[in-house]
Every structure is written in structure tokens, then in C-alpha cells.
Subunit: 303 residues, 6 copies
């Protein structure tokens, strides 16, 4: 990842981890090849963020810890394996940046992180709310993980913001449960045509100083920007808005982040994986400890 | 289509019909596979529209009547077959939602509908005006159908709005004929960077209470959003604007609608067909008789 | 190109030239097939620009002079061959519109043009500044050509504007050298969400009446719009903004222009080449001597 | 499938069933879309087999019973659902022709068939032996199903022939277990350059008159012929040999057959699915009750 | 084509002509882009045939006469245009090598050639017999052209050989009509596993010294070799056999030849068009007047 | 590569090295991504060769030494870098298995190997002879490397065999120079329809006991088998024949081998890279020191 050496230092500040799971997917599979392809495309990245002057590799020790070994035949066994990997193999002071894999992976990651940090605030970029109670009778899938995470006190709904929700749903009340718990739900329609920098100011205020997690489902973005994903929904966020959201997380106490649902087989150009690699780089650039050269790096839109 | 059962009810409120014609096409063929692929991708759709609360399958009886049998060797014979299918096989009270197929199909569909309803008002989303007099000497093609429809009093030009026209033309006067008849021509340039919700308010006013038809050529949208089409033109509408146009048709007395020019072979991701399936779902959600939960479902842009 | 006849007139006003070079590329090669594919896709273009009424083939004699013969094994030999072709084979009064090929080609083209016109002003659309001193020790590549062109007085940095720069860089100071020489650097962040028509007014003022060159790297646009390129960077300009930039060059004394870095292999839809063909047509429409029908053809955004 | 009407007769002689399972896959997923794409491509098939004169739709009542509902999150639940579907929904006298889906599906199908017919003889075309004991600790997967089927007396190993095995393995003894039970293992190397008609004569002799099942993993064929599959292996059977195998099964008492591991996403031409549709048609043509016009329809190779 | 200059000599010995027709196609369209793509891929061809020493450009004057202008909306008008182009624009002594386009084009080509030469003998490579009486009621299509050509005495059935026929048909008697007229029908099954050099010896004997035409439908070859076509059929000829057939035509009095049904959109590798370009080069190498260096250039198989 | 650990042992018996060069290519570039994609696809390989029982990882210490750093702008500088890497970084007793990259790379590899072993015998699989004197005036390219290697005594022409040559050439004498020096040239035509096991027996005899090198250009195989390459030629070797050639090298004193000209962009299925990974595994299995379980592992063809 990002041309990091294969020998990882023992206690890095930040660790990339691939989680090649896609059997938590109900529609198009293939996210199991997300980590491999995102790493391959990440070789285009250079070390400095031009817009903000961020130099994450100067400010932090960064490592690539490889992939979590997945049981491709059992979702429950894989979830356990992911949780154990994050609990046992990642030092407590290391911030994990995860490369999915379908969105189910965020659940066991949050299990491991909440054990260390308590319930986290959540910035959740997605086309889907992921708060179904069950899917085909299963309780932990890529469409139910967030309900489980809130039920188990891994995530604090009052410190949660969902951005980009849209499309058709199983009931007209799909978004109500989490909003009722105090989360801020920002459907895509509220994002159309505008910069998201102002929104992110209010997000930072809502989440405040506690531990926070940023989960970025690539299908939050429009399929024109990110065709290589399993459950695309039309009329989504632009790539620019995706970057604005991440840059707007600067100042949060991020204890982890991810980019998920990258399914390279549906994008022969390779650009969805390249996008995901860049989004992970943008995440890296806003982690605590990375300096930036100005108070407002978000561009004109944030003026 | 949209997981509808194969057994259609005898008198549905709404009928999906596939029209796999593409020999009315001058450039890249392949729209004959539009209906098949749009149906396949439509399996991703769920029954509720989250932004507006529309529940079309609760409010209306919807059926899929299959494909019109096309003579792939004769454009004129196919046009007759389409007109006869709509006139004979679709009950008078049923609103047809058609899946193209190239844009020629709208002409025989309008022949059948105008026989029932008289001349219709038209909301026409397209990169091209489709008002050439002839192409290669032929009078009915995907580039001339609208001129024929107006000449034959199928469409009322004073109740017609064209949105998204752009690109290069055969003469600098290509758009003048229809404007001279009272139609409102909105070139893509007037749509750049803005919400189309205000435009749609004026569209609803212009069309008023009479019968109306919504014809949505997928090439009205930018090729980045809809690569799988036969005659793409750069700098077009966004997918968001496409949705705004359709949602802005709520309140019109729609007697039919279509999405045309979907040519799946040019989009290996499958996302153009998925987009078309969603646009058809959005059309379904604004038909007369489908309730929505607020006066202004268009999102922030329409505020 | 654009259905021009194979027999070129001896002294055309404008000449299309293909430059199928891609060994100046550091990442994904394939731009050598840009000219061939752009020509093929250009058959969709019709002779009139609908938004502005420009009729370039009425106002100018336009020819296609074919491709520069490239030595695919030697970058330095190819650079010499390009310079010699432009110096020897293109009449002094002919404006060359070049189809790349990688961005290295602009350097020898500018050598030939500056010998005729003196240093030129430059409108440079790109994701990258292209002002590295060397790459892998080489002094003329697709990432260094502009530094060489300024050092050799081919380009006047005070009359230079760069639009669309973004992404990650080799140092946080990558953009400083050229800005220090008086160039205007407009990073992509300043372009997000807005029309570029106002920017282009200031560009026209800055460049003034002297000879000017427009170099359009297709990777200045977002990968969703132009996936078929070698070094894509996320969160770039829209296709609309690309058109606004070119239309905003009307009034400059353009002595040449190009569209470069089109690598068709990474876009199976063919749409990146179609986009490039359209951008070349837009360039043609703003050349000196082509009339337009209004003072403000840029669309609503320029109002 | 093959343009069959959606209304299935209650007791067809033959039934096509789609089994869109792919979570039994260890490498590239995507076979869940096999049934959908094979059905779409099957519209190219016409009713008569030219080489043999077989007219299966004249001789048999054929139906398409749709897809088995799969739980995409649980392999074990899906296996149960498949077995129950075949046991409960398919009449006892109906021969099922199944469209995979990954090879795991053959296990529950055989559970249902063996309950009716007792242990079956097996013609198994595949690149892989599928007799691993476990994979990632799981006992029923696409690489273990045959071991389970033999252990549970669903398949008679002495009446089993495996054709096309090749490639690399987890141990040098991978093929020994089943050979030790009396099965005939025909590695691909023994098939190179020759007609398989003579082999099939010996296969018919080995299986004799008892109930038989034909399981055709599309990866038994060379990746040049069938690129759209999850675990391709080089130097495999030709498409011609695939047809020879199926035609060579004429005379067996086939009680079921399948074509599995078709993953359309890896073949943008659509031809792997078309191939699978044809192989299913060839299977249909050799079922008991379908007449053929000569003793030796296998072509010159079988002379 | 093959880097020929755009200025054609007035009376070439051989002329390449593109015929971009595909509205005679019943299944997948796209062959209209065959000529363009075959020409583009033909730039890989060098002037000497290594296996036979043929040097066609030394022995013959070869020209590319461009494309026949097609009416994309009317099959009958296009057929007339093709016939007229061949009758009027091609000198009587010039041998046309045509690049399709769908197989319908061979009918008007043969009309023009038979007017000059009388009925021709025919070597017809194809998966399909193309002797249906009508399709959708039309008398001239890509599936009926040969019946028409025989009925109109353009082709002498007793001097006709069809090679590669296979697949499913509309009746079990599809191949009988033409065989009853004396044609030799060689189904693909008779070609499996063997060199076709012996067959071609008997073909040369059957056709004898009169005028002959070679019509090569690319779908005669297996889809693995030629995926980019509209009506692929499995278990077809190998590319090697295709070359053997053409080389085996050396000695015939060929008055024309074609390669048809190349539909590039279904082969993103470009290799089907490259194959077609090579087959046209092989055709060129066996025309009367091109020397070869040995009595038997067909390779080992012909020994 | 093949799941080898990133920490290479200091003196491995065998080393995989990637050489991502493609600026020695005259036609389609992209082989620079060969090493990356071949490594990715090689994760499908398991440790045992089923046909021969070879267990290379049991018998040899194998390492992946990563990629040679290439100067993408200078062919001559890159050639020097490759030679120096092989001379300086690879221990004298280590056998390099190289992953191309275009065929130019074999020249500097042979420079390094001949310095250790003296002139080597050569088994050269290719569609092209690669013995041009110059291309565009350059002396070392992918079409001239072998002439240079023979001129510089790196390769012994009397111990050289070329297999698979075919297609069109720049002169009818293209193959004569090397044959005149005593090499055995086996054109593809001599390979059609037959097993190459007998040929390989004579190859082993010709090369005898001295040091030998196996250079496998993937374009030696037919484009249907290996579409992802830069200069495909029709009617080539089958994948089976490719394997027969490599297995037939068992017994030679191989001091190195390569697979070159893999250009993944032209094969969206990924199968060309998978093929190359398998061919490298087959090469590994026949290196000196790897046991096999029988005297004749080549399959029926070699009987």
C-alpha cells in the first residue's frame, strides 16, 4: 500500500489492513478483491497532499499489516477472525485504516476498537443506512452491521452522522430508527449541488472531542465516480464531496477509518480502486498528528 | 421488471413494456438489448422511494407486459408493430412506461396514445432535438420522430419542453423550428451548475392540466453518468438533474413515459441500465395516483 | 478527423496533427493510440456548434495532416521528429491542433511555434503542474516539459495560467516554482462547484493580445468524465468546466492548441476519445477567424 | 430459459432450475449471476440440434422452474434450501437440469436425487477433483462436495468418471483418494489433441444401465473457451471435447445434470454464458426419451 | 487498410471495400463498425506472408476504396446501394475484397459480380447455412442471402461448399435444401480435430476452373477465436482451420472474397478485428497472380 | 509471487524477478504491468504439479526478489539497469525466472547470464523471430534483441530452437539469417494439430548438456489463449502446446527462463496473466533439482 515496505515496524502510528471479505454482500460480490486492487492502484500516490500541505509520512509511522485471513465460506467465522485480528494483532496505540471488503467488516472492527476506546462517534458515508434488523434472517451483514453496532454500544448514535443516503428502500421508515436515537441523517438530496464543507463544520461540532470513526462506503459516491461497487445507487455524492467530507474530519479524534465495498470487477478502468486509494490517503492526511498549513483547506466551497 | 410476477393482471394501472428496437439508430446500435438489461438490473430496486415516501406498488397495480415483437430487418414494419401493440394490447386506462430501444419508438407510442387522449404535452429530455426532417431520406428515425409527431398533431408544441440539448448540429438553425412553434428549448448550457427544480416549476405551469408524456433519452445525461448509449454528447445533465426533472413532473397528468437509447454493450459496469431502471422507478413514483409525503420532495435545490 | 478528406489543401488555416507518442509516460502507457481513436470517434461530430452558432468549417480551411512518425523506442529522437515536423511540414500561417499522445509532445510543438511567434502565453489545463526538474534523471518527459519550455523562453510564465492542479505531489512545494515566476496557479479546489466563466474572463485579461497556446491534458478532468488516461487524479474538473475553459479562450490570439494524454485502452466505452474529439472541436470553434453569434456563449454560468 | 413460457406445466419431463449460489467459492465470486445471464444468452438457441436431429421440445415437456431462493449470507442455510427445493418442488418423474452457481450446489441436488434413485453414477467434467476433505475447516464447499457425496452414498465411486482434471494441487495425492475407491480419473493431459468419443464409449460401459448424473463444471474447459469462471486452469478441454462428452452420454439413464461455475463478470463478450446455455441444450438433447437420427452423432472423431 | 495510401489508383487489381451494414442482423448488432476496426487493426500487418513467401503488394496493385455509403434505416435501400457501388464504382477487372458488415452484404456483391462473370462457385465458411426462405417475413437478410443468390442464379449450387455449419436450427432439415441442389455441406463436426488441407483439395476439385467467390463469416470460427461477432455458435473451427481454408483456395479463379460479421463491441481485446484483417491478408495472398514458393504451403497438416 | 514471503532468503536456488519494461515495444504497450498482474493472479497456484508430481517448493528454495527499477523514459538506460540488477543483485547460483515486460528484457538478462555461464542454448517460443537488425534505427528493441544476443556471443545459434514463428514479415527472408547460423526454426504451421512432445525430444537432443535458457513470449500462443499481449498473431500455438514445450525442457540445464509480453490491459478477464503465472510455475517445475515421478509426464501426446 502506497509503496510501504513489506517489513512493518512493531508499533506503527497507523496501519493499513486489508479485509478481503465479500460474503456479507447481498447483491454483486467481488469486494474480496478490493484490498488487492486498491494496493496496486495506490502506487500512483506521492507522499505530499498538495491542497493542504499534509505530509503524513513525515509526521507519522505508517505500516501495511497485510490482509486479515478470511474464511470465504462462513460469514460468522470471518467476523470472528476480523475482530480477533484487530484485537490481537494491532497495537493499542495504532490507528487502523481498513480496506474492504464489504461493509460487514466495520462491525468486528468496531468491536475491537470499542473495547479499547468505548463507544465511538461515527461519520458514515453511504447510499444505504445499513440499519436493517436482519437480512434473509441473518443478524450481521453489510446491511445490518450498524444496527448491531449501536445495539452493542459500539457506536454512540447521538454522535453519529450518516451522509449520502438515498434510493429505494424496504419500507418508508428505513431511516427513522437511527434518527430516533439522535443520529443526524443527511440524505443525498440535501447534498445536491452544494459544497459539504459547511455540513462538516456542524459534523465536527456534533461529534466533539471523543473518539470517532470514519466509515466510507464507496457507494456513497455516485456510480459515475465509483462504478466498481456492489450495490450502486444513482444520484449520489460527487468525488469532490467525498474529499470534502474526509478533509472536514480534520480535528476529530479519529481512532480508525475505512473505505469499503470496492469491487474492481465492475470497473475495467481501475479508477474505482484508484479513487479508494486516494480516499485512504485523504483519511491518512487528517489523522491526529498530521499537520496542515492552513485553517481551512477545504477549497473555495468552504470559504 | 422490478421483480413483478410474470402473470400480468388484465387491467393494470401501469404497464412496463420493452421495445427492443435499434434499427432507427444512425450511430452505435445495441439499444435492442436495453429492455433485457434494464429488467435484469432492476432487481436491485426496492419498493419504497426514500426521499418522497412514494410507495407506487401500494398505490397502483403495476404489470410487466413483456416486449413488443420487433422485425429487426424493417424499421417501417417495426413502427407499425409498436403502434398496434400499444393500441391493441394495452387497456385504455393503463399508463405505459416503455423501456427502449432507440428513440424512434416514441413516435408509434404517441400515435397510439394520441388516438386516446388527443395531442399530448411533452417533457423531452435529450441531447438532441430529434426534429430533423429526414435522415438518409427516411422520414421516421430516432432523429426525426418528434417532427413527425408534431406534424401529425400527436404532440402539442406549445405544451412541449426540451431539456438538455447541446453539441454539434447539422445547421445552426437545428433548434429553431420547434422553438418557432412555441416549444421551450432549454439547452444544456442553461442547466450547468444549477438545480433544475425551479425550471420544473415553470415546466409544470407551461404544460398545465392536459395529458402529458415524459420522454427521457438517456443521452440527455452526461456520458460519465450514462456511458451505455448510442450517440453520447459531452457536457450534459447530471444524474441528479435527471432525477430532479422526473420528480418535477409530479402533478402533471402523465399518460405515458419512457426511457430510451440504453445500449448496454458500451457500459461493462452495467450501471447505465441500472440508472435507467431507477429512472423508470422515479417515473412510476410521480404518476397520477401515487402519494408523496410533502409538498417539495426535490431536495435542497428546490427550496 | 471530423470526416475531413484525405487530400489536404496546401496551406490550410488549421491543421489537425496526430502525435502518437507515449514513451514520455511514467505510469499507464497507451496514449499512442489516442490519435487513432479520437479520429474514429470524431465521426460523430457535425459541422455546427449549437450553443454559439460557430461554423468553423465555413470560416476556415481545415485539414488533417496525419500523424507525426514516432520512434517508439527513443524519446529524444521522437521529440526531435515532432519539432521538425511542426517546423518543416506545417505552413507558418497554419494553426496546429494536436492530438496526443502524452504531454511531452507539447514541448517540441512549442519549440516550433516559439521560433515563429516568440514566447507564447499558455492556458494549461491539467491535474499536474508538469514542472518537475527531472524524472528518473530525464530532462524532457510528460512531467517536466513545462519547466523546460519556460527555461528556454518558449512560454512566458507571466502570461501562463494553470487550471485544475490537484492530488498528491513529490514535495509540498511542487507548485511554487512556477507561481514564483508570475504564473497563475488555479488548483482544482478553487474550481469545485462553480462555473469557470468568471475565471476565464480574468485569464483573457492576464494573457492579453499576444500569441497564446492552449494545452489541454485530459486528466485535468475528473476520471469519471475521462477514465481513459494514464495518470488520473480524483476530484477534478467536470466536462462542463472543460468546455467553459475552451469557450473562455475565445478572443485570445491562439497560435496552437492540443488535447493530450488520451489512452483509449482504459475506457472500453470509447467515451474518453469522443470527449477529446469534442474538445478539439470546441478549440476549433474559438480560433481567431471563427465567428460566434453572441457576446456570451458560455451559458448561464457566465451570466 | 430457451424462450420457455413463464407458466410451467405441473409435471414436466424436464425442468431447468437456476441456483444462484456463489458463497461456496474460494477464489473469484460471481457465479450467482450465472443463471440470469445463461437464461439471457439462451435466447439464441433454436429448437433443433442439427448434428443429431434431436428435437427435445418435440419429444419432452420442458419447463423453467425459476431460481432456488438463496440466503447469500449463509452457505449452510443455502445448501438446505437447495436440497429442500429439489426434494419438495420438483416432481419425482422430472429430470432437473440445473444452472449454477458454484459447484457446491451439486451436493444438495444429489441429496434430493439419491433419496429417489439411490446412489447415482457420475460423469464429472472439471479441472478440479473437488474431493478435498475440508476447506478453511468447512466440510461442504465447491472443493469438497464430491467427497461428501461419496461418503454419504449419494454417488457410487465405482460408477464415477472424472474428466479434465489438471493444474496445481494442495498435495501430489489429490486425485488418489477417489481413484482408490474405483473411480476413473482422466486428467486433461490424456485428453490433449484427441477426440473424446472413444473415451465416452468406455464411460458408457463403466456406468452401465443404472441412474446417472452429469455434472459439468465450465472450468473443465480451457479458459480460452470459458473465460467467465471463478477458478480457471490452463491447458484444459476444448469446447468440442465438451460437446463430445455430453453427446457421449446418450444412452445413460440420466436422472439429472448441471452446468456450474459460470461467472459472467469475467467475460464481457457474454460468450461463456452462451456456451453454458448450449451445453445445457446438448444435455437436454441426450436425455432419455429424446430421439436422434443415427447411431454415431459424435462426428468424424467418433468414427 | 494495411497502410495503403488514401489516393487509390484508378484501376487496381484488388480493392478493399468496407460495407458497414448491420441492419440485416437478427441478434447482436455492431458489425457496422467492423470495417473501421478491421482497418485500424490491420496496421499490424507487414507486407510478406512468411509461410508461403507470398508478396501480394509486389505482385498486384492494391487499393482501399473506402466504405459503401449505407442507409442505416433501410435494409432494402442499403442493399441497392451496395449493388450499385460494386457495379458502378469498381472496375470490371478489379477483384473486390470486402470487409463486413453483416452477411447480407454478400447478396448485392454477388449480384454485381454475377452480372460480370455469370454464376460463381462459392466457398462459404459459416456456422449457419444462411438458406432460410424468410426471416420475420423479409426475403433478404443475413440468414437468407444465399437462398436468394442461388434462386437468382448468382451462385452455382453444384460448385458450392459450406464449411463449419453447426448448432441449433429452426428445423432438422435446415441443411437439406442446399445439399439437394448439389452443394457439399461440411458440418463443423466433420472438421473437429483434423487439418482441413485434405478437404480443400476436394473443394478445389469440385469448384474447378470457373469463377469463384470466397465468403468467410467470422462466426464460422469458434467464439474463443472470434468472440466479436453477432451470432456466435460453440464448437466451431479453429483459427488454424480458417487459415487452412483460405490457403487451400489458392488455384481457384477467385473473383471476389469477403470477411463478414465482425462486431468489435463484443471483443474488448481488439483481437477479432485483428483476426479479420489477417484473414483478408490471407485472401489477398491466394488471389490469382500472387506467387507462392512451393506447391503445398498449407503446413504439416497438408502433407 | 505464488504467495512467497516478502523476506527473501539471501541465496535462493530460484528467484522470480519482475521487469516492468515496455518502451521496447513497437505496437501496443502495457507490458510494464505484466509483473504486477502476474503476481496477483499467481495467488491461485497451489504447490504441487498434479500431472508430474513435481513439488518445486519442497525441492528448491524459491524467492521473489521484486522488480527491477526501470527508467520509463529511456530504453538504453533501462537495459543497463536490468543487466546490472541481474549481474549484481542475483547470486551466481540462483536461477532467475523473469516476468516481463517486453521481450527486450531478455537481452540484458542474457548479458548477465552469459558472463557467468558463457553462451547459452536457447529455446525461444514466439510468434516473431526477433532478429531484425534495427527497428526505427534502434539496435536493441523487442524485435532485435536476439540478433544482438547472437552477435555478442550470448546465445549459441547452433543450440537454438525457435518455435511458433508465423504471420506477416518485413521481408520473405526474415527467418533465414538465424537458420543460416544453424538454428532450428519451427514455424507455427509445423505445430498445427499435433503434440509437440516429439519435437521437444529433438530439442533436448539438439541443446545437449550445456547451459540453456528458455524464453517464452506469450504471443507464441494463439490470441484466443493469450489475448493480453502487444503484438498478437493469429493461428498460433495452443496453451497445451505451450505446456508441452516447457515440460519438454525437463532435463535441460536451464540457467534461467522468462515469460514476456504480458500486457494485461488487453484482457479484462485476467486470464492471460493467470496463464503466464502458470507457465512460470511450469518452468519452475522443470528446473534442475526438481524431481518428477515418471519418465514421460507429457501426457498422451508424448506416448
Amino acid at each position: 500500500m502506497m509503496r510501504l515496505p513489506p517489513d512493518a515496524p512493531p508499533e506503527p502510528d497507523v496501519a493499513f489492513i486489508g479485509v478481503p471479505l465479500d460474503i456479507g454482500t447481498s447483491n454483486r460480490p467481488g469486494a474480496r478483491f478490493g484490498p488487492r486492487d486498491v494496493r496496486a492502484q495506490s502506487c500512483l500516490l506521492r507522499p505530499y497532499q498538495m491542497a493542504t500541505g499534509a505530509a503524513p509520512f513525515d509526521d507519522l509511522v505508517v505500516a501495511d499489516l497485510g490482509d486479515v485471513p478470511i474464511n470465504t465460506f462462513s460469514l460468522t467465522a470471518s467476523i470472528d477472525a476480523i475482530r480477533d485480528f484487530y484485537a490481537d494483532r494491532i497495537p493499542a496505540a495504532t490507528i487502523p485504516l481498513s480496506i474492504g471488503g464489504d461493509h460487514t467488516i466495520t462491525y468486528p472492527i468496531l468491536q475491537a476498537l470499542a473495547a479499547r476506546h468505548g463507544p465511538v462517534g461515527l461519520v458514515h458515508v453511504d447510499a444505504h443506512a445499513d440499519v436493517n434488523d436482519t437480512m434473509f434472517g441473518e443478524r450481521v451483514t453489510h446491511g445490518t452491521w450498524l444496527r448491531r453496532a449501536i445495539e452493542e454500544d459500539l457506536v454512540d448514535p447521538a454522535r453519529t452522522v450518516q451522509i449520502g443516503l438515498r434510493g429505494s428502500g424496504y419500507s418508508a421508515q428505513d431511516f427513522d430508527w437511527i434518527a430516533g436515537l439522535g443520529a443526524l441523517v443527511v440524505p443525498a438530496e440535501e447534498c445536491w449541488h452544494v459544497s459539504l464543507a459547511p455540513l462538516m463544520a456542524s459534523v465536527r461540532e456534533r461529534l466533539g472531542p471523543g473518539p470517532a470513526y470514519l466509515s466510507f462506503d464507496i457507494d456513497g459516491l455516485d456510480p459515475s465516480v465509483a462504478p466498481g461497487t456492489g450495490t450502486p445507487e444513482i444520484a449520489g455524492l460527487t468525488g469532490i464531496q467525498g474529499v470534502e467530507i474526509i478533509r472536514g474530519c480534520r480535528g476529530l479524534d479519529l481512532v480508525g477509518a475505512d473505505v469499503v465495498e470496492v469491487a474492481p470487477a465492475y470497473d475495467p478502468s481501475g479508477n474505482t480502486s484508484l479513487l479508494a486509494a486516494n480516499l485512504l490517503f485523504e483519511q491518512l492526511c487528517v489523522l491526529p498528528g498530521v499537520a496542515a498549513d492552513g485553517p481551512d483547506p477545504g477549497g473555495r466551497g468552504s470559504a
